[in-house]
């Protein structure tokens, strides 16, 4: 029980970027654009956040990581525009265009690191994002140490974003239009909705969220940005989106599930029957788990109908 309580803050730390990036994927896929570039956008966002944090830390300690994350959001937004341009205007195959962005992200970030820092990674920042404890709440038995004591504020950010996404996608006219474009764009267009504009907005939202997720991940789980900082988290987020059946609450659950599976490897040596297993087993654990989750849930889950299809206004 003690172990489980100790695991919570770490699991929440791992969950936050997965959830945020998966919400990004949700906006994009609901608008009808498959976004396998989440990984690459996270890399760009993580690089931008780390760079700004390193530069601003001596001047604005405390504020630097938050400004860093804002810049990460902006960088992700700009980078995702490439995906929108290619797949909305130039009718590119969305998976191929996303893959191109993933390759590009590795190139651009390390290239810029060499220009700015003269090495293949950013310089390391001193603190990154600080952990917080919420006075009052942290003394509640069980709930206090699991959710409110020495935790990164990023998980609260992720929760807020889940709520916001749910409201935007299901409770506003914007959300209804967005979903219509992902289900049947021609029908949406016949009702006077500008499909191109809605899809741009979906992709841009995914860029902002994935950029933020990258910043969150690097500033809480790393000491600097390197080429391997994101190591497949964007794809795990994509898996969470499918696993969570393209709904914000499902994404929250799936993200927590994958967060816990990663936290498990941190505590494996304290769990009797797991202590003897080789370290490599725990490294590959989250990835195998993603595959299993996909097998179990993907047959029943059906995504937005038109996601991945090139929009042809003349089709009936």
């Amino acid at each position: 029980m003690n172990l489980l309580i100790n695991m919570f803050p770490i699991a929440l730390m791992f969950s936050a970027p997965i959830i945020i990036a998966a919400l990004g994927g949700l906006f994009s896929e609901r608008s009808g654009i498959v976004n396998v570039a989440l990984e690459g956008i996270m890399m760009v966002g993580g690089f931008a956040a780390a760079t700004i944090t390193v530069i601003l830390e001596p001047v604005l300690p405390g504020w630097a990581p938050w400004i860093g994350m804002l810049v990460g959001i902006l960088a992700g937004l700009v980078f995702s525009l490439l995906h929108a341009l290619a797949s909305v205007n130039f009718k590119a195959d969305q998976v191929v265009s996303g893959t191109a962005l993933n390759i590009l992200a590795g190139g651009v970030t390390v290239y810029l690191a060499q220009i700015i820092f003269h090495q293949q990674r950013t310089k390391s920042f001193t603190t990154g994002l600080a952990k917080i404890s919420i006075p009052g709440f942290k003394d509640i038995p069980i709930l206090g140490p699991t959710l409110f004591d020495h935790v990164y504020p990023t998980f609260y950010v992720a929760l807020l974003l889940v709520l916001l996404t749910w409201f935007l996608v299901y409770k506003t006219p914007f959300g209804l239009r967005l979903r219509a474009c992902g289900e049947h764009p021609q029908a949406a267009a016949s009702m006077g909705i500008n499909v191109y504009r809605m899809r741009y907005m979906g992709v841009m939202a995914s860029g902002m969220l994935a950029g933020l997720a990258g910043g969150v991940m690097v500033l809480t789980q790393d000491i600097q940005y390197t080429l391997t900082s994101i190591h497949g988290t964007g794809f795990i987020a994509l898996g969470s989106l499918i696993f969570g059946k393209w709904s914000p609450w499902g994404v929250l659950g799936a993200g927590l599930f994958f967060g816990f599976s990663q936290a498990l490897s941190y505590y494996a040596k304290d769990i009797p029957f797991m202590a003897g297993l080789p370290q490599e087993f725990f490294y590959l654990f989250p990835y195998v788990l993603t595959i299993i989750a996909l097998i179990l849930f993907s047959g029943k889950a059906v995504g937005p109908k038109a996601a991945g299809e090139i929009y042809d206004p003349g089709k009936r």
Binding site: A92, S97, V108, Y111, F281, L294, I295
Partner: protein, 369 residues
């Protein structure tokens, strides 16, 4: 149909051109000189130093062909799956289990010189095929998207292969013991004509693979069935073809090409198994090679050479002060431009119409597309 064939050639060429233009712009914006990049590329391709000393070193050419070998194979792997309508982004992992199998055969099996590397190659192809059959089966049986599964399989392969390699006994936890001389693909002859480069007999299975790819895809009924599934699944099913079975076969053959690449790297370029800290990007290179090569055997062969040249020129660029990642930027832009094929075609149509019928008509036609 006639213009389609022409576009198939023109679009990749335009994409490559735009990729280099964009790369040059990035270099200029970051305060370096693109001239150094083109000098490095020229030297890699011909061995000649164009910067004035006119000195010839065939070693550069040898290393250039060496770099082209594995990515031509991963290119064939990706292209083969593409022809069946599958996106095999898992060539990286299939390559890694392929090298593991090659290492196992090299270190554990005793065989005479000529036979030993062939056994290693066959084992690597089988391992790659087996690894690729998993996303294939999951796609066919449960309709799980092969992209996410393949990427998860890549990470699984990375850590799984590393653990296995360490079981062969390692002094520094970075590489396995060296292979016995009978197992290697190394060639004194090829090294000597290229001034001591690492070029090796791996070149022969690569050329064979290109020919086999062409023959299977274009000339056999099996290849025809695979292409039919790629063109239109429902029509293929209606014609009595076993779509699910073809998906699994296609992934397995694709994986065999990637596994072969693992054998060529392990038995040829190196002479030991390597424990890797992260991916080397052969799978992603393969995607670029396949797309630029239009998923055809000859095209893959040529674009394999192009991207092999970019890869081989990296150290020269880095020594000239241009970060070597510029090649990934160029490669990614080329992929992006090839992906925009329909868009580029629309622009080309616009210009052809403009020339023939004047601006007003062109605007009309451009708008239609």
């Amino acid at each position: 149909m006639k213009s389609n064939k022409r576009l198939q050639l023109i679009v990749p060429l335009i994409a490559v051109l735009l990729g280099f233009v964009l790369g040059s712009i990035v270099i200029i914006v970051t305060g370096k000189s693109p001239g150094a990049m083109f000098l490095a590329l020229g030297r890699t391709m011909t061995g000649i130093d164009f910067s004035g000393r006119a000195d010839l070193n065939m070693r550069y050419v040898g290393e250039f062909i060496l770099q082209a070998l594995p990515i031509t194979l991963t290119g064939l792997a990706v292209a083969f799956a593409f022809r069946t309508g599958l996106f095999n982004i898992g060539a990286e992992g299939q390559l890694m289990v392929g090298s593991l199998a090659a290492v196992a055969v090299a270190l554990l099996v005793k065989a005479p010189p000529f036979i030993h590397p062939i056994l290693g190659i066959l084992a690597a192809m089988a391992a790659g095929a087996l690894w690729a059959s998993i996303p294939g089966l999951l796609k066919a049986r449960f309709n799980v998207h092969e992209v996410v599964v393949s990427i998860m399989m890549n990470y699984t392969a990375l850590y799984f292969v590393n653990w296995c390699l360490l079981q062969f006994g390692s002094v520094d936890r970075v590489k396995t013991p060296e292979f016995p001389p009978s197992a290697t693909l190394k060639s004194h002859f090829l090294a000597s004509i290229t001034n001591g480069s690492r070029l090796n007999w791996g070149i022969i299975p690569v050329i064979l693979a290109v020919i086999v790819f062409w023959f299977v895809v274009e000339k056999t009924t099996f290849g025809y069935r695979l292409r039919a599934v790629g063109f239109n699944k429902d029509a293929a099913r209606y014609a009595g073809m076993k779509v699910e079975q073809n998906i699994v076969f296609s992934m397995m053959i694709s994986g065999a090409f990637a596994g072969l690449a693992g054998a060529v790297i392990t038995l040829g370029t190196f002479n030991f198994g390597r424990v890797l800290p992260s991916f080397e990007g052969y799978g992603m290179d393969g995607i670029a090679v396949a797309l630029v090569g239009g998923n055809h055997a000859l095209g893959v062969f040529l674009s394999g050479l192009l991207f092999g040249m970019l890869k081989a020129a990296q150290p020269l660029m880095q020594s000239q002060g241009i970060p070597l990642e510029i090649t990934s930027i160029i490669q990614a832009s080329i992929v992006l431009f090839v992906a925009m094929k329909l868009g580029i075609e629309a622009v080309l149509d616009f210009f052809t119409a403009y020339k023939r019928k004047g601006p007003a008509m062109a605007a009309k036609m451009g708008g239609k597309k």
